[in-house]
């Protein structure tokens, strides 16, 4: 795992070591590069897409269901074809990517924040607080993600904000469990004891002493969970309970095209599907390798 010898002993900070180890794996680097390109495309999307899929005036229903590469009535070329409302798929996919990434990353980071808080609190205080929080975590994790998400969306209704909320509730428990188990180990270490002896405040001990030492496993879980959040959002939107079809996320685009799959108009659902899968696989490649790099057990 650690073949890098070019860096001299003196220069080796843990962060540098991790970065150089990460860069050793070509597949993971490829994943990272692809992911960065995807993020860049999503962020800059509005500047180069030929159409704004939110703007109905830019669409022509006469251009509906055109195959990839076809010309519109005005002479524009539809690179990836159009859907049944005459929406340019290329633009729609990039806007869909924006929404999917937004939902995945926002839900992911909020879930990390809440989960880490709860996990640290449970580990630090122990006792009853710990029991209550962990019971809740166990209870939630004993049910399948999709059931919990479905339950929440049946309660909350459709919409981007609701999906984000459902994803946070579905995922915080993973982080809480992950960080609690590391924090339990850290809590009994000497530096925490030393911090107690210095009479440092609780908050300071938890956040500036315990937290940084508990982060590596959380980072690994977070990368994988962002991919999962994107997948769950797509699934819910595909089922028709997530993001409404007027706001194209990758899942709702796929749902829109799915009905036409059997009649041979594959591009309406297959291209957004490819965008979705490439995103998920890229994030997973990064996450998978991060796990190896950050795992202290695999370290010399």
């Amino acid at each position: 795992m650690n073949k890098k010898t070019a860096i001299t002993e003196r220069d080796q900070t843990p962060l540098r070591l991790i970065i150089s180890e990460f860069l050793d794996n070509r597949l993971a680097v490829a994943g990272l590069v692809v992911f960065l390109i995807i993020v860049l495309t999503a962020v800059l999307g509005p500047y180069f897409t030929p159409q704004n899929p939110y703007d109905l005036a830019q669409m022509d229903i006469m251009d509906g269901k055109l195959p990839p590469g076809a010309q519109s009535l005005d002479g524009d070329i539809y690179l990836l074809g159009t859907d049944e409302q005459g929406r340019d798929m290329f633009s729609a996919i990039i806007y869909g990517l924006r929404l999917s990434l937004f939902v995945g990353i926002v839900a992911g980071s909020l879930a990390v924040a809440i989960g880490v808080m709860m996990g640290l609190v449970a580990a630090y205080f122990g006792g009853k607080v710990d029991t209550i929080i962990m019971r809740l975590v166990d209870l939630q994790l004993s049910f399948p993600t999709i059931l919990v998400a479905l339950m929440l969306l049946a309660i909350l209704g459709k919409g981007v904000d609701k999906v984000v909320m459902a994803l946070i509730i579905v995922q915080w428990a993973y982080y809480a469990r992950t960080i609690r188990s590391t924090a339990m180990v850290e809590r009994s270490k000497e530096y925490i004891e030393a911090a107690h002896c210095l009479a440092l405040g609780r908050r300071r001990i938890i956040f500036s002493h315990m937290l940084p030492n508990c982060l590596p496993p959380v980072i690994v879980v977070a990368t994988v969970n962002i991919a999962r959040a994107i997948a769950i959002e797509a699934t819910l939107s595909f089922l028709g309970v997530g993001v409404p079809q007027t706001e194209p996320s990758l899942g709702s685009l796929i749902k829109g095209g799915f009905d036409f799959l059997l009649s041979g108009k594959y591009w309406i659902s297959v291209y957004p599907g490819i965008a979705l899968v490439v995103t998920i696989v890229a994030i997973n490649l990064v996450g998978d390798h991060l796990r190896d790099v950050l795992n202290p057990r695999l370290r010399r």
Binding site: F143, P144, M151, L152, G240, L262, S269, G273, V277, I280
Partner: protein, 325 residues
């Protein structure tokens, strides 16, 4: 043992009660179903009558109390849309879902265990690496996408298998089954495979890890020293020992499979309870949504309970721990 059983049963019923409160109070908040069911031109009197008939004019806690009382008798209300008992509606569609889940589980086990054993016995072969890479895809790609690709490849491009419905069914014990007819079997193959892929990946990884660990154990070395044939070591000595975790996980995953059927059933238009719940959420058919959630939650809790108890019976080490704790 019985102390353990009683404690687990109590825990399980607590969870059921807790979930019923969440589900009911949650669903209670969503839109007023009366608006959807009564036509737009209905007069205020008609609206009031409909609200009263559905019991929606009572205060929240009263509604919940009535709900609980009825739930204990197996009555979760009438579907606003179909006008029949919500529980009956779910139960009618349950066999289709269970059939799908069982066939999927069998596929996952029958294909997953041999592949996992192969990958575990020959971890450095290219084919083993291929199996492991495939299992990563099985893990990380969304269910519905896998199903869609199956339809695209096997139904649209190759035209080998049908993409939707159950096909011909045979009625046995008053329930319709697809897997007993040739046409039904053709129909169930793709959706069951769709359900199986994820679990298959899990089982492959579990089996592989188990085999790699077991092969290093002393009992395997001893059997080899005794001159036991390689096949016998693998299928009798190793297999038996890796079976416990596989059975436990498969059991737990079976409950999850029934929930995940929502996705597969939507992709393949399989007329099970998963498709019903999606339609019911869309139509705000509150009693059916509540009934589905309660029945699925109950199902998963029962499966977890049975697996835990069986596990402690099969593995004496666990039993002793539980008795102490």
């Amino acid at each position: 043992m019985s102390v353990y059983l009683i404690r687990r049963l109590l825990q399980a019923s607590m969870v059921v009660f807790f979930m019923s409160a969440i589900v009911f109070s949650g669903i209670y908040i969503i839109g007023d179903p009366v608006d959807l069911l009564v036509s737009n031109e209905a007069s205020p009197e008609e609206l009031a009558r409909a609200t009263k008939a559905l019991g929606l004019n009572k205060p929240f806690h009263e509604q919940y109390f009535v709900f609980l009382k009825n739930a204990l008798r197996g009555d979760l209300g009438r579907s606003f849309v179909f006008g029949v008992s919500a529980v009956t509606l779910i139960i009618e569609r349950m066999p289709a879902t269970l059939e799908l889940a069982v066939v999927g589980m069998i596929m996952a086990l029958v294909i997953g265990i041999p592949l996992g054993m192969y990958a575990g016995l020959k971890p450095h072969k290219l084919s083993s690496r291929g199996i492991m890479a495939g299992s990563i895809f099985g893990f990380s790609l969304p269910h519905f996408w896998q199903g869609m690709m199956m339809i695209l490849i096997f139904s649209v491009m190759l035209g080998w298998l049908p993409s939707s419905g159950r096909g011909d069914t045979v009625t046995v014990f008053g329930i319709q089954w697809s897997f007993l007819t040739w046409d039904g079997l053709r129909h169930i193959l793709l959706p069951a495979l769709n359900m199986a892929l994820f679990k298959m990946s899990l089982i492959i990884r579990l089996t592989r890890a188990g085999v790699r660990e077991a092969m290093l154990q002393d009992y395997v070395k001893f059997a080899r020293a005794k001159g036991v044939s390689g096949m016998r070591i693998i299928w009798v000595h190793v297999f038996k020992n890796i079976l416990i975790p596989i059975i436990t996980v498969s059991g737990l995953e079976f409950g999850h499979m029934v929930a995940f059927a929502v996705v597969t059933e939507t992709v393949f238009s399989w007329p099970g309870m998963g498709r019903l719940i999606i339609q019911s959420i869309e139509m705000l058919d509150r009693p059916v949504v509540v009934a589905y959630l309660m029945i699925t939650v109950l199902f998963i809790i029962i499966v977890n309970l049975v697996v835990d108890v069986l596990y402690s019976i099969v593995d004496p080490r666990v039993r002793l721990q539980n008795l102490k704790g």
